[in-house]
Subunit: 494 residues, 2 copies
Amino acid sequence: MEPLYRKYPIFIENSLTGKKEIFLPVSDGRVGMYVCGPTVYSDVHLGNARTFTSYDFMFRYFKHLGYQVRYVRNITDAGHLENDADEGEDKIAKKARIEQLEPMEIVQRYTVDFHEVMEKINALPPSIEPTATGHIVEQIQMIKTIIENGWAYQSNGSVYFDVENYNTKGGDYGVLSGRKLEDLQSGSRALDGQEEKKNAADFALWKKASPEHIMRWPSPWSEGFPGWHLECSAMSTKYLGEQFDIHGGGMDLKFPHHECEIAQNVASSGHKGAKYWLHTNMLTLNGKRMSKSTGNAILPKELFTGQNPLLSKGFNPSTVRFFMMQAHYSSILDFSDDALMAAEKGHDKLLGAIETLSKLQPSESSTYNVQDWVDRCYIALSDNFNSPILISHLFEAVKFINSCTDLSIGLSKGDLQLLTEKMNCFAFDVLGLRKEESSDSHKEALNKAMDLVIELRAKARDNKDWDTADIIRKQLTEAGIQLKDGADGTSYTL
Amino acid sequence: MEPLYRKYPIFIENSLTGKKEIFLPVSDGRVGMYVCGPTVYSDVHLGNARTFTSYDFMFRYFKHLGYQVRYVRNITDAGHLENDADEGEDKIAKKARIEQLEPMEIVQRYTVDFHEVMEKINALPPSIEPTATGHIVEQIQMIKTIIENGWAYQSNGSVYFDVENYNTKGGDYGVLSGRKLEDLQSGSRALDGQEEKKNAADFALWKKASPEHIMRWPSPWSEGFPGWHLECSAMSTKYLGEQFDIHGGGMDLKFPHHECEIAQNVASSGHKGAKYWLHTNMLTLNGKRMSKSTGNAILPKELFTGQNPLLSKGFNPSTVRFFMMQAHYSSILDFSDDALMAAEKGHDKLLGAIETLSKLQPSESSTYNVQDWVDRCYIALSDNFNSPILISHLFEAVKFINSCTDLSIGLSKGDLQLLTEKMNCFAFDVLGLRKEESSDSHKEALNKAMDLVIELRAKARDNKDWDTADIIRKQLTEAGIQLKDGADGTSYTL
């Protein structure tokens, strides 16, 4: 059978060219995708959670279409300095210093936390999850190659990428972000540590560690640590090759991080790395930029528990995911309690309709063009992963499903099967929603049902209705539910 | 307040000395503990799950006593060759070759699986979880040091530890396992690859990669990979220092793995690494050695789901953990369906009594010596982590708690508080049992309770008992439970 990706070819908005292009993988039937993962020095940020949910959605769609996907999402556990610049303390080492822990204890704590949040939001584990500290050897090798190729220079034990030289000799630093080298060269020269660089736009490939810097490795240049941008070039090359398909990350990483990655890739291999560079947009909270200092901030975990003054209640992770998917990955997404409430209604309506659909009986003939609907859903998904359009199509189907109480409306057996299969597949496999088998909701309902049973039992006893009392006793015993009469009333245990 | 570890000092059976010794940490109030983790090339083995559960129990007890613990458990993702020997294919690379995946995809899949099982069995994440591939630089450094110190030699691009030379110059290879070097030197000489070694007992620190070996790194000696034993020496030294407290692993690792670790530690730093070496014992299944080939095998996941012909049903992970804790870590543990069934009864009885305890009212005075019981529990725990004795003490308390229906038996307010606190702490914090908020059990109970409610409603309607029917209708609405009368009877939805 022809794979789905031939029937519904994908078009991707490529940040590198600024155009929407047809997706043609380097190797037929396979997708190599690299996404810049979190720096694990604090609880995972809601913006990051959105970014990784977006790429998880793409990962799911590629797989659904029949591609064999290798999805690499790294963990940054060293080299990411404060303010994303070439100077300042390592983010993880700083947290470790404050908490009096070994840096790798910080890494472990927040990696575990990150994985918990990803599991809750139903993001599949990537195929490979490499770490920066796990690839020191590969990074040193890449620096050697870049120096050999003439695009980097040593200075005081550190190694810098020579941006001006690179661009003079045909490189195109700025190609992704659209920034002009002459603008970048002016300005920040006066910053601490810049005196080691030939030019302000140069960036570190290797930094000599200051005496108090604890995360350090030997290298041909100094005891030190790799520059932040380097790990992604080294790891994407190792696991996906010099030329691969998709590179993703948040929009805030476009410059300098991804710009530098491309320059490093070209300087070491002659290739830019990925063919398609994707960027997810930012999010706001109640219309404003999130910021801890002003209190306009929320963590993914708080969304789930409701433990944040900006929320009226907790939202189940599938609702939060649905809310994210309602916006296109390239649009700004505004979080608010009201918007989440509305998303919850939509989410429950969608899942309710899928439940209803599972109970529908086939009719003689169809009053809905299911195949056309299926095509429109795929076309939306393949059009730069347009989840909001997909969701609007899903709600068209919800409307139809809910109208099936009318006997003049219905689906043939084949159409019913097709609609059932595709509704489930789009909602659960591709969008990644999840029916919550919430133990809480069952427990709560059980408590209330048992309150009722206990009341009916008391009533039956008062009325000397021994038959009813007997039924209750017998069936509860069979169900493994024990009643205990106490001074404070009757309680039950399982 | 004096920390608990002063009141109840720990005694540990030290494999290195063969004696039970008082535990005196290198640094007062702190514990550094290293445990050899899994090689992630297949589903985690039940034996491994038992080993890691045992060390999790010790980790929990150290923390409970007030120690600040750094618990390092590694992930072996390279260098572990078939048959635990110096020749043969890398276990992970072999699996990757068979499944046509990148080795790191294998590592990711089974690391995720391992973490899932650990989470189910309520094993806390260790403080640091380092990987072999993440410490190539550190391993190369350690080899350099060992060569400089004269205890290793190069041969054809590989580096071997010179066991005979080490023992001639005062080393004591064999100190842990009790094996004699002269016995080890004979025998295995004829094996493939042994011709590179001076003596049969020598072991690899670095192996030159054969052309088809895909997991390889540059080194001063060859493109290759570190020997399996080296990673644990390098990582324990990096994160816990040259002298630390506890080193743990399964008994099967005592020789050659731990014996080689000690030799490497001494050869690079002059110290043996840990002061106390601990070994957990093996497990059997229905009295026989587990073996996939004979079908006498079971996976941790299968224990939870019951999907194995040797099991009559699934057991909740807390029951499995309780079952493991009923045996001392240094005893052989035999798994069987009957034994798990018995453990389930014990587990539920213990947790039921803790529930009962929470509802007990204080009496004027106590008829049970709670402080004496508390002391005996701690003494059991501190006596080489004797979980079976602890559990027998817990059941003494269970018996007492369940006898409290007799009004002549009871506890003063202070004693009731103390018993409640300590029962919870021993069962949940230290043994690591977990009250299962099983959505399944609540859902099942809810189904049965609702069957009963539906029957009572039908009965009330038949009897024209409109008052009862009304109560049922009203309370279900309040509870958010909807009844639907259909052709197949009445069903409910939340």
